[in-house]
Amino acid sequence: MNKVTHIEEAIAAIPSGAVVMVGGFGSPGTPFSLINELLRQGQKHLTLIKNDANEAGIGISKLIEAGRVDRLITTHIGLNKTAIEWMNTQRLEVEFHPQGMLAEKIRTAGAGSFGFLTDIGLGCEITREDQLLDWEGERYKVEMALKADFALIHAARSDRLGNLVYEGSAMNFSPLMAMAADQVIVETPECCEPGEIAPNQIHTPCAFVNSLVLLPLLTQEYAVMEHHVRH
């Protein structure tokens, strides 16, 4: 079993109109190389699901700025003025969720279930009347599971079977998305032989991974961003 695939071939599986989950909270965990290849190949009318919109000029913001994204399902895009501008001028449809609700909707889909009940956002403007459910004297909000056609994931390390390890805060939505998408494409700078990662160190088991793209080097996009360093 070997899931190592060339980046062009892996990304070519994504058609225009696809629903694509993208891992990452800010830069950590963002699969910059897979996103750049998706930009290069030119797929259009994408629906993206990501915690945020990265920052202007990098990550999924490149896809948004190139007009490839019809819809973004997210939690917060405050660090990306360009994305806010695209939203405010109706060139990008944005659907906001409380962050933990987005995570839980994805986790629920990944667990093979269809929805869950919560009290988050009851009485707030994000909750619609048709989402309310009264059950045994309590009022709940129904949240439906959220799945996708593809997930693009960055792992710090993998074996060639696709057993994944994440690093630091780069884990965030990635293990959840890897379970909730039909096809999971992973990029990693470090690929080893099966057995080299201890079984109890694996964050995402290989059953959830379809293809694995090896990164020969990590480009500048993966480095510490100087404008976030305070002096």
Partner: protein, 222 residues
Amino acid sequence: MSDIEIILKRAVHEVHPGSILNLGIGLPTQLLDYLPDDLDVMIHSENGVLGAWKQAPREEMSASLIDAAGAYISTVKGCSFFDSAVSFAMIRRSKIDLTMIGAFEVDQEGNLANWKIPGKFSPGIGGAMELAQKTPRIVVLSTHCDKHGKPKILTKCRLPVTAYHCVSRIITDKAVLDVTPDGLLVTEMAAGMTPESLQAITEAPLIFAADTLDLTEEVKLS
């Protein structure tokens, strides 16, 4: 001392050893700089860190490790990393003892509005709604008035509400106010403020503690 410094130096007194806290993006995250280095707390960052600490030294910064505000952080001993579902399970199960959070508006019932100014500013909800709704103690850190000099402490929030009846205490550059069943109780005031001058810049009616402390003196103690 700037208004921000007054707020942050006073806010340090809210942090109790042995507790787990979350610092909202903006003013609250700046509190990190004011915390003593040997403080026994666990800081939760909703991007999947329990045990976040101040900015890491340059040579130890990792591009894979930030807090929710984007700072390249260091970690304390006993720190753990986890996914976003676990991170928010921690919040919704009320395992975070204290959240310090910013506000556009806060009212006398402890309702908080901090995520959307319709037509002007709507970058999204982020973790604010779940933190506000589920943390047992919410302390709002905010300037007393907005940049146009208008009151932010209102009788009733006018902006879309983030969470209802969630705020315990409000710390501003002018006063410390507790949300009580009877209304907003002023326990500390900055030097030079009088009950009349504070009420004049606050929309909600205020109640004053019999022994209102000097906020500025409290700040000097830190």
